[in-house]
């Protein structure tokens, strides 16, 4: 664990990506295969199963630290991370050990077979031989969310450097449903046959947002335009007679969308499609909140399946007849895809996302303006001859989203953030006027600069009226412009509406409290865009 803790310390002590990558690559050159495999797993979002609850951890840590539980609970929001709070609260260890990362993960996994008293004894024994940094990491293994400033991309790059492999093909090898229990470092990284896993998706190609008009992209006829749908980006894989569905977040969603099981009836084997999973009303997508109901369910009740059926709006073909097509130009991939999807019956759970015809950037701008009417959030622009790259790359693919909708709203509650934003008030609740009352209608967490968060934090401290646990009710005073992508009716909310992707787009210092928007303004927006 000491080498892993040293790696963490080095990574944590720098903000420079190059230094982080180097430290991680050095680790990959020297660590044991098991530790390397677990490190890859942790930094690609794979974790050991949680062996004890965070409630138990808190209780035990308070007990060992000689403080009441409430005091630990009060410290937690100030530190901003439970694993760290516990690591800092515990008394110094009575002995030292240097057991491997894999040892501690195996230890955690073995707890599942023990009763609660035995689990507690083993956790306390671990704490008593780990230094504060090791304890923090050990606790992180339990509490989950192993986010310590290393992205999967950075880890992949470091691994590519350490193993002299191509970064993109390595990224592909790391995709899919493997866990350290189902593979080995050798099989995953070094072995010749990287195609062993029939469920493995390709790394998604992601687009940057186009900041200005597309004129700078050159001739319009070199480009293809599609709607940018508001669904879930997904890959559908048909291999060996079965199918798999992956989300962009590399979550296997096959069971959530049983509709796609029928794809094997319509399409040949050896196919991978990239597209948008949307709830479909027969002619166009339902608003996103209809799909939302589906995302939350691991198994889908019949009624929901009937009320909110999903389809894939396919826009790319990555594999055909078992061959990787990603290096072919988009127009060729697209032609092959269209040939496959051509003449499918109307009730097939897949459609080709229609390309949008345009001659000039100006006509395309007019099309874009109608995106909301088409249940889209803007346009995608893809160069006709572009290969399918891995990750977010500039140049060939762009998203050209609609300008967001906005309202001016009053901040009424504030709560501190977590992690890097611990001790800063960053999570706010906003309200609009309903007569003389302020009705809360949304929360927002992002959009302000660090400097603005510092200013509002100082203000919140001085203007707290009441506390409800971690939430502070503040004097209604500040008006913020809230930007959002969509608005929907929602009986669960007091205001009767819910917003899609709300964020603070501007701090309206210029706007008096009384001039914030009203609930009626929101209802008008709902009428127009809902």
């Amino acid at each position: 664990m000491k080498d892993f803790a040293a790696l963490f310390t080095t990574v944590d002590q720098t903000t420079k990506t190059s230094l982080k990558t180097k430290a991680l690559a050095d680790f990959f050159r020297t660590a044991s295969d098991d530790d390397k495999l677990w490190t890859i797993a942790l930094f690609s979002g794979r974790r050991p199963k949680r062996a004890v609850t965070t409630t138990q951890l808190r209780e035990w840590a308070a007990e060992v630290g000689g403080i009441p539980l409430w005091l630990l609970e009060e410290s937690y929001p100030i530190v901003g991370d439970l694993a760290e709070t516990i690591a800092l609260t515990l008394p110094p260890p009575s002995r030292v050990s240097d057991l491997s990362l894999t040892h501690w993960i195996t230890e955690l996994k073995s707890l599942a077979a023990l009763d609660i008293d035995a689990r507690k004894a083993r956790i306390l024994d671990a704490w008593d031989q780990l230094d504060p940094t090791e304890r923090f990491l050990f606790n992180k293994l339990i509490t989950g969310g192993f986010r310590i400033g290393v992205s999967q991309k950075l880890m992949t790059r470091a691994l590519a450097q350490a193993t002299d492999q191509d970064e993109a093909s390595l990224a592909h090898r790391l995709m899919g449903g493997w866990t350290p229990e189902t593979t080995t470092y050798h099989a995953l990284i070094e072995a010749e046959d990287a195609e062993a896993d029939e469920s493995r998706p390709y790394p998604f190609y992601l687009a940057y947002q186009l900041e200005d008009a597309p004129d700078a992209l050159g001739q319009p006829d070199a480009w293809q335009a599609e709607w940018k749908w508001d669904g879930i980006r997904g890959q559908v894989i048909l291999r060996n007679g079965t199918h798999h569905v992956w989300s962009r977040g590399e979550e296997l969603m096959t069971d959530r969308f049983p509709e796609f099981a029928r794809l094997t009836d319509f399409l040949p084997d050896g196919i991978v499609l990239d597209g948008e999973i949307v709830a479909w009303d027969g002619a166009q997508p339902f608003p996103f909140n209809t799909l939302q109901a589906r995302i939350g369910r691991k198994t889908v009740p019949k009624k929901l399946l009937k009320d909110a059926p999903v389809i894939l709006l396919a826009y790319d073909l990555l594999e055909h007849e078992g061959q990787d097509l990603r290096d072919l130009p988009l127009q060729e991939r697209r032609a092959r895809m269209d040939a496959l999807l051509h003449n499918l019956p109307d009730d097939a759970p897949i459609k080709a996302a229609p390309p949008l015809p345009f001659d000039t950037w100006e006509t395309l701008a007019h099309t874009r303006a109608t995106a909301r009417d088409n249940r889209a959030e803007g346009l995608m622009l893809k160069r006709n001859d572009s290969p399918y790259l891995a990750g977010r790359k500039k140049g060939d693919w762009w998203k050209w989203k609609l300008d967001p909708l906005t309202v001016d709203a009053v901040m009424i509650y504030a709560q501190q953030g977590h992690g890097r934003r611990a001790n800063l008030f960053t999570d706010f609740t906003f309200a609009v006027w309903d007569g003389n009352d302020l009705v809360p209608f949304t929360k927002a967490y992002s959009g302000l600069t660090d400097e603005e968060f510092r200013k509002i934090t100082a203000w919140v401290r001085k203007n707290t009226q009441q506390r409800f646990g971690p939430v502070r009710q503040v004097t209604p005073h500040h008006v913020f412009e809230i930007a959002f992508e969509g608005i929907h009716a929602s009986p669960r909310h007091k205001s009767g509406i819910s917003l899609r992707f709300p964020r603070m787009s501007r701090w309206r210092h210029d706007k008096p409290l009384q001039e914030a928007n009203t609930l009626n303004d929101l209802k008008d927006l709902l009428e127009t865009y809902g």
Binding site: D12, Q13, E74, S75, I78, D81, R420, A422, N423, T464
Partner: protein
Amino acid sequence: MVWSAHPTPQVTLGKPLAPGCFAPILNGMANPVLSFTDRGIYCAAGDFYIDPWRPVDRALITHGHADHARPGHRRYLCTEGCAPVMRHRLGTITVDTVKFGEARRIGDAQVSFHPAGHLPGSAQIRVEVGGEVWVASGDYKVAQDGLSEPFEPVRCHSFITECTFGLPVFKWEDQAHVAKDLNAWWSANAAEGKTSILGAYSLGKAQRLLAMIDPQIAPILTHAAVENTNAVLRGQGYRLPDTIQVTPDTNPKDHKGALVIAPPSALGSQWARRFGLSSTAFASGWMRLRGVRRRRAADRGFVVSDHADWNGLMQAISETQAENIFVTHGYTDIFARWLKTQGYNAQVLRTEFGTDEDDTDTPTGDAA
């Protein structure tokens, strides 16, 4: 710290934590030795204030930080060690000084100053009236730093304590251990031809760091704000290693591998850019928290504080043998609640302390 922006009543009791906990302990004290006013901590028997934040006739000052030693008072009283820095910072003021432990009679009050260990010359102020003893601690730390006069516990009935770091997650490592880390960081940078830029409060923290580090590694450069304070303390006989003040003419190439000590605000500024390839660090108690370290976006954070840590606060409070504890700036609500569970009459005081650099920009102050 949350302050009332409007004038507060003459006696401000601490905010009760929860219904049922409301037990204003001043009720039993018809004539408390110290009371709490909108100008600051007041002694009626001696008609003076301790670290007042609005102009008064007579101010007793615990130490020279700006939130405790404010301008505009008619007469100041502080320790001999504290006066030069105060004159340096506040200009022409009328100052009377006492030695540590020297008793003074002011009106009906007996007053003495005792080392607080916060920085050189810093004091706790003991006030005795009719056999009843109160101590206002100002800011303090119990661990010795090798430069400040070591903290001295003073027995009293009522103790006014800071609690900047009044949470069990704040525990300081041994100073020698941190010094080793600092020297290792500096040496490694020097070996790579990098300048080491260390952000530290210019009064107290900067000099303490100077006294901690190994001056043999490479030259030590200072920001003018730090060097001015160094000059004052050297003039008083405090021993600091040789330093070179950075001026517009300073050529970083003449000082390869140097350590630069500057106020935190100078880091990342135009001023700091002259040093080219460099590694930056902050020295503060807040560096104990990873979130704060990352937000400061420095390469390193060294946990060095001139405030007492959790164990230090508990040790100091216990050694006073006081029954009544008034807690000021820091995690006051939480700390007072903890003290109550430990059998103390604890109460939160709203003050205007807690705005020096160790407190600002950081998770301090939640009195509200």
